[in-house]
Amino acid sequence: MAHFIHFTDPNSQEMENYLKSIPACPGTCFFIDINKSTDLKYTGGLPDWGRKLNNTFNFISLLNDFPDNIVKGIGDEIMLFIPDERLKEKKTIKTYYQLLEEIYSTVYNICSFPVPGMFLPCKVSIHYCTEVYNVTFFKDANDYYGRDIDLTARLMTKAVENRIVLSEKFFVKVQNDLVNLGLPASFGCLSNVSGKFLEQFRGVPESTEYRVLDA
């Protein structure tokens, strides 16, 4: 349950005390952007783009086992946040490596699907967040804010169709999982991951290291 922030006095000491008491909520943030849906809205009607969006959203939310972790959708982009505590509770996907393998497989399945026109291609950004808070400014809503959420959104600027952009921070988590599982560093989809890139993203004071993984 998100911490609800709502104070009518902008200078409230109570608000300051409350904000100071809110703990960080570390976890993994994903942005998944469905490509081409805007174009489709100009070339076809709701029966066409509605069906493709339906199919693609179904594919993403159900098969990745985290339908309840979708924080929000804006048009054709969705944000998932999986707190570490939640990941530990899962029976099917319990590690960062498994998260990456599943999202990679989803993107692969969509882009390799032999029947054209059933799904829309996706691009994904992933970041492991420590500067993040489970807060909301709207009653009964659930949301996550923090500079690491903003960085996940910035990473998306490096994504193209059928590509996953992952921060080095998340990549290190995945590598640690592989060590713990006794698997080689290039196991599974990791065999396709790129070398390290460095980027100065808008609004982020320090440079960010990231890698890309094409399906």
Partner: protein, 110 residues
């Protein structure tokens, strides 16, 4: 997950027992690719004892289908449990795989 393999009259039957997910998909990948590389391009996969499949499991089935289709072989599935059938329907996989009700029907289709 356990994988068993048997030779039938017109095809090879591969049976999957248990969950197919990120922890073990590579075992199935190795098995199917070895069979295909050895020229076994008529494959029937019996899923009667598979009770869970994740995206990574679906990816391996899709990869096998693509390779066998390219080799002009045949790849079919049979005996899907209800929950697996639902996943296949939602993901559109029922449109691309030949799916038979049971192994007997699957064998007859080859």
């Amino acid at each position: 997950m356990e994988i068993t393999e048997k030779k039938a009259k017109n095809c090879t039957v591969v049976s999957i027992n248990g969950r197919l997910d990120t922890t073990n998909y590579s075992v199935l990948e190795k098995k199917l690719m070895e069979l295909i590389d050895a020229g076994e391009i008529k494959l029937l996969v019996n899923l009667s004892s598979m009770d869970y499949v994740s995206s990574s499991g679906l990816r391996i089935l899709l990869m096998a289908l693509k390779r066998i289709t390219m080799a002009k072989g045949k790849f079919a599935l049979c005996s899907l449990q209800e929950n697996i059938k639902e996943i296949f329907e939602i993901s559109g996989f029922t449109n691309i795989f030949e799916i038979c009700d049971n192994e007997e029907a699957g064998l007859k289709s080859f």
